[in-house]
């Protein structure tokens, strides 16, 4: 057991840097190969290097769930699966792992906690809210990475069993509404917190500019986004501010 745990621990540590060499040619491929390598070391001589090379082929998915593919591919190499079957397994996992991770983390866990933190800061919780955000977020983050790697290693080519785990689907179902509620609640509280130092005329201006900006982003979201609009309006405000004493 300990002989398996040490390579798994090494793979997990390397997975934290899985996007370290992110590129447009193999995407996460090189990072996935690096993470998988400790799990391949006890393969027979003629199998080790081809398996390492396969591990570094193109791969793209959510970084927190990449461990599922790393574990599954390594297990499949140990089980003697055919090389083209392992390649197909990796390719088949890209879409589902990307989609699940995006819904679970980028559109769920992260904005949910961020919304709660914004609301807590607006209500005066200060830096403690930020510290709590970091701790709670990373409990989920590390647990997800570890579960993904272990599930992949356990199931190998039958890793789709892990992807249908009811806890995952329940989490996605719960986090969507929770995220929507927490950010919805945070927005007015944050608006009040940020507008507190302004005089009343500036608060009216803030409400008008925010409403018009929101409309512009909703109606022309393909061309107008936050950074572009902020910079454009800041440039206008600068010019007005310099010529209007």
């Amino acid at each position: 057991m300990a002989a398996v745990k040490r390579p798994l621990a090494r793979a997990l540590l390397r997975l934290f840097a899985v996007q370290g060499s992110y590129n447009y040619e193999r995407m996460l491929g090189v990072g996935v190969g690096v993470a998988e390598e400790p799990l391949l070391r006890d393969l027979a001589d003629g199998k080790y290097r081809p398996a390492v090379a396969r591990g570094a082929h193109f791969f793209n998915a959510h970084p927190y769930l990449a461990g599922l593919a790393v574990g599954a591919a390594a297990r499949a190499e140990h089980d003697g699966a055919a090389p083209d079957q392992i390649e197909r397994l990796r390719e088949a996992l890209c879409g589902p792992l990307g989609s699940l991770g995006d819904r679970l983390v980028w559109a769920g866990w992260l904005p949910f906690l961020s919304g709660l933190t914004l609301a807590a800061i607006a209500l005066g919780a200060g830096w403690i809210a930020v510290a709590a955000f970091l701790i709670v977020y990373n409990i989920g983050h590390v647990a997800l990475r570890w579960w993904a790697l272990k599930a992949g290693w356990t199931h190998g080519t039958r890793v789709s069993i892990a992807l249908h785990h009811p806890v995952l689907h329940r989490a996605v179902a719960l986090l969507g509404p929770a995220m929507a509620f927490s950010v919805g609640a945070a927005l007015p509280l944050t608006a009040a917190y940020l507008s507190a130092p302004f005089e009343s005329w500036a608060r009216v201006a803030l409400a008008i500019v925010a409403a018009l900006s929101f409309l512009a982003m909703r109606l022309r979201g393909d061309r107008i986004h936050g950074l572009r609009l902020s910079l454009a309006l800041a440039a206008v405000a600068l010019v007005v501010g310099i010529i209007w004493p």
């Binding site: 590129n23 090379a53 209500l123 990373n138 007015p188 944050t190 008008i208 500019v209 982003m217």
Partner: protein, 228 residues
């Protein structure tokens, strides 16, 4: 105001860690503006300013869903630069100038991420034959090289932000009227709030979560009015 060298070094080190966290290592969300800004504020002994700018850039961050190879601004080191700018200026002037410096730094950071990925692509492409040999030392070299390049990139973006912070105070702080400073802050805070709302609605969609969003909004409004 020129910051003491030890504070500048601390900010550059923090900005570099924040920049690396965004994509490369370990993605523990110190790159989120809320965290980056609060710690930058703590380094400067001014946590309230760090929190305030952290909130502004966190709202702008909602505009971004980092899926696939999408290109986006880098708001972590940008928030560090914003806090450094705002720390030296009072109240609303600090908020506006800081946010402006942060926006420009965020734009520059986003461009460097794209450049880095292109450079990584060329290096990986050139090493394709070696990678196919399955030599683990080749993999390690390519990967560590990518990490180091990202660290260098993040450090350069942070230094760029600190230079902008140093330039913005004498160049803009001196010529902006009080009304101008307020307008600048209003423009950026308003678009941040709009970006936060628009970005969240994109995530929420038109399904059942929209009702939860409306319920949260109503609850937040009620608490805001009650607290007044």
């Amino acid at each position: 105001m020129i910051l003491p060298i030890e504070l500048l070094i601390a900010l550059v080190v923090w900005g570099t860690l924040v920049g690396v966290d965004l994509v490369s290592l370990p993605q523990m969300m110190i790159a989120r503006p809320l965290v980056a800004g609060t710690v930058a504020g703590a380094i400067l002994g001014d946590i309230p300013t760090g929190l305030k700018l952290g909130v502004v850039f966190e709202l702008l961050q909602y505009d971004i869903l980092p899926v696939g190879a999408v290109r986006y601004p880098e708001y972590g080191p940008a928030t560090v630069a914003a806090v450094a700018t705002a720390h030296a200026s009072d109240g609303v002037l600090g908020l506006g100038l800081g946010a402006l410096v942060g926006l420009v730094t965020g734009l520059a950071g986003g461009l460097t991420i794209n450049v880095l990925r292109r450079v990584n692509s060329r290096i990986v492409h050139a090493a394709a034959a070696q990678l196919e040999s399955g030599d683990p030392s080749v993999l390690a070299r390519l990967h560590v090289g990518g990490l180091l390049r990202d660290a260098l990139r993040a450090a350069l973006v942070t230094v760029f932000g600190q230079v902008l912070a140093w330039l913005a105070r004498p160049l803009l702080g001196g010529v902006l009227s009080v009304r101008g400073a307020v307008l600048l802050a209003v423009a950026i805070v308003a678009t941040a709030l709009a970006a936060g709302a628009a970005g969240t609605l994109r995530l929420v969609g038109r399904g059942p979560n929209l009702a939860w969003f409306a319920a949260g909004l109503a609850g937040g409004l009620a608490v805001t009015i009650w607290l007044r």
